[in-house]
């Protein structure tokens, strides 16, 4: 029969360590796919809870981190599928360094809006593939594994994403 919880203190400590070691990486990975801090926060929590409920998968640290990344990617893609494209919303951002002038902040904000509009043109999987390849530097094989599809499909997603972004930027320049 199953033993009863709570987990031994060593296991709880291991869980905390696992969260601390991977939290920022997973948050950024999800943020880059969903493009929204509030959603990225919720989805990061969801991904960790899913992962930590299967502790048998967490014995090997390296494999666990890899597995967590897969969960995070899939959680973010599922979210985008459920909610359509990326849904940017206003969030109350507390800046840690308040050294920017109001003009600089305005310019940054406008530039961000411009780029975010471009990213909105991508599908969830195109965006995920682009993030994994161009931001996280994964190989095409690795991206295929993470997205659970073939290398040819990954190439197609990446090429489509780049073409859409290039066209968008070209249109805006004119």
């Amino acid at each position: 029969m199953s033993e009863l919880l709570p987990p031994p203190p060593a296991a709880a400590e291991r869980q905390n360590q696992f969260v601390s070691d991977n939290l920022r990486r997973i948050f950024l990975q999800i943020y880059r796919i969903v493009g929204n801090i509030a959603d990225a926060q919720d989805l990061t929590q969801e991904a960790f809870i899913k992962a930590l409920q299967r502790q048998d998968q967490l014995k090997d640290e390296q494999k666990a981190a890899h597995w967590l990344s897969r969960i995070a990617t899939n959680t973010a893609i599922d979210f985008l599928r459920r909610h359509g494209r990326m849904a940017y919303c206003e969030v109350d951002i507390h800046t840690e360094s308040e050294q920017h002038s109001p003009e600089e902040l305005l310019l940054q904000s406008e530039h961000r809006d411009y780029l975010e509009d471009g990213l909105r043109l991508l599908t969830a999987r195109e965006r995920a593939a682009l993030v994994l390849r161009d931001v996280e530097g994964c190989s095409a094989e690795e991206v295929a594994r993470r997205l659970d599809c073939s290398k040819a499909t990954v190439r197609s997603h990446i090429a489509n994403a780049r073409i859409k972004l290039r066209r968008y930027m070209a249109r805006r320049k004119r």
Binding site: S2, R32, F48, I49, T95, V135, R162
Partner: protein, 189 residues
């Protein structure tokens, strides 16, 4: 490569995702075609810009991380409550234990079903049975054999009454302390 490569091929060429043969062919074409070279250069610039685009704005990471950690802990505890306190962590052990218990249960059921059941010989009653009421209960007598349905509290009971009808007898007791009523019906065959 005499014709221009497609946009998709140039996009992949810029990211180094083409196979070696196609890459070599595109390389040769791009070296000689300024239009495609410009397109590749734009894709390369885009690749460099993507990580910058996708960086989140400055946020108070310490606060956000603390909030997320607390919510993760809360979520796990809620999950444990839903699972009835059973740990998934010991899944392998549980499955084995369950398999052993299941096998034992099967063996037990098989044994119970297959064991020889003692045959109950019907008792031949040569003499007729009689019903008698007494202070302690109702008695069935047949020859020198008798059986009494006792009412242990009959002596302290009030409103005790017996009713006989054919081969049946009924006794009714009212407990003096509790007021509970006990009714015994006995049929003789």
């Amino acid at each position: 490569m005499t014709t221009h490569p497609s946009g998709a091929v140039l996009a992949l060429f810029a990211g180094g995702e083409l196979g070696s043969v196609l890459r070599w062919r595109v390389e040769r074409h791009v070296a000689a075609c300024s239009e495609c070279r410009r397109e590749v250069s734009e894709f390369s610039e885009l690749r460099a810009a993507v990580p910058v685009i996708m960086e989140p704005p400055e946020i108070s990471w310490t606060k956000l991380a603390a909030e997320m950690k607390a919510n993760i802990r809360l979520g796990l505890e809620a999950g444990e409550c839903v699972n009835g306190g059973r740990s998934v962590r010991h899944g392998v052990f549980s499955v084995r234990a369950l398999a052993v218990c299941g096998s034992l249960a099967l063996l037990l059921v098989a044994f119970l079903l297959e064991r020889p059941t003692p045959r109950v010989e019907p008792v031949e009653v040569s003499e007729p049975a009689f019903l008698e009421s007494s202070v302690s209960g109702i008695q069935v007598k047949s020859g020198d054999q008798s059986i009494i349905l006792l009412n242990t509290r009959a002596r302290d009971a009030r409103d005790v009454n017996y009713l006989a009808s054919g081969n049946a007898m009924r006794a009714r007791y009212v407990d003096t302390e509790t007021g509970y009523v006990t009714i015994n019906n006995v049929y003789a065959q």
